[in-house]
Amino acid sequence: MRAKWWGATALSVVALAWGGAGYLITKPVDFHDYRVAAVSAAETAHDALTTTALVAEALEKGQVMTPYGKSAFDDARKALAGGAKKFTAIEPPDERCERMHDELAPLLQQADAALTRTETEPHAADQLSDALERFVEQHT
Amino acid sequence: MPRASDFLGKRVAGGRIVDVAFDENQRLTEAIVVRGPWGRLLGYEREQVRGPWLIETLARWILRRETIVVPWDPSFVTPDPRPEPPTSAREASG
């Protein structure tokens, strides 16, 4: 009898937790969610550019090994692609978000090309980096 | 043959059996019975464990200090249905 009671309690707790998680995942995206996603995409792009610049500069000075450089560049490219993909997957729910989208989307697109340039010219994307940083500051 | 799991945690007059003592001839001598619902002793019922003060006080408080010792009686053992390998277990639970 006691075991049954415990079982029922445990089941309802699990069901509640799953229900809660399910609600959080499926609830429509609002302004707040969209802002968080946009800021995180911008941060990811900024970090990828900065890391690539740091590593490229270190490679130039002979401070790091070539295989290291290669895999650091790979990581940055993957991070940027992942961040951008997550952001573009969300439909902007209202006008304010739409403006935010129009501001960030071109920056992310530029970042993709800039990343490849930065691998050989460490300071090629400094301006873009600053623009992304400004975007993050404005929206947090 | 009766096992310890047949009488530990069992209700007897005065509370629940949490432990049973035996002497050097392996004869069971007495049962330790508590009133509270939680029967784990953590060892604080023995002289050898002292402190830390806070943990000891909490452990005793949970036990409500109502530990009593009663002489062992073979009637404390009743064969409860014990899980056996699947075939016979069905009979026991059904």
Binding site: - | M1, R3, A4, F22, E24, Q26, R27, D80, P83, P86
Partner: protein
């Protein structure tokens, strides 16, 4: 010396005369008249018996129907932080799972007989 079944025996490690683990005291057995302690029981099926309920049946079933090993209390030499037996563990029947894994898996890997030091 007065000992407690629950505190001093149950859930304690049983080791042989060389200190090699034999098993846990998963339950103890009394004589028919329930007046004396006769043996220690070790093995998952004994542990499952103590859990009771569904969980207990699972643990018992995981033992593959093997009976718990019964160690007569006369073989116990000393009880301190572990239950020390007076014999070497080779004199007892090996646990079923250990033997099965030794025969079918571990014993077949090269180097399984190498002692460390």
């Amino acid at each position: 010396m007065r000992l407690l079944i629950g505190f001093d025996l149950l859930d304690r490690q049983i080791v042989d005369r060389d200190g090699v683990p034999v098993g846990k005291v998963d339950d103890v057995e009394l004589s028919e008249d329930a007046r004396t302690l006769t043996a220690l029981l070790t093995g998952q099926s004994a542990l499952g018996g103590r859990f009771g309920g569904v969980l207990g049946r699972w643990i018992t079933a995981a033992a593959g129907g093997a009976e718990p090993r019964r160690i007569p209390y006369d073989l116990v030499a000393k009880v301190d932080s572990a239950v020390h037996l007076a014999i070497k563990r080779e004199l007892l029947a090996p646990p079923a799972l250990e033997k099965w894994l030794d025969d079918h898996l571990i014993g077949r890997i090269p180097g399984a007989d190498n002692a460390e030091s």
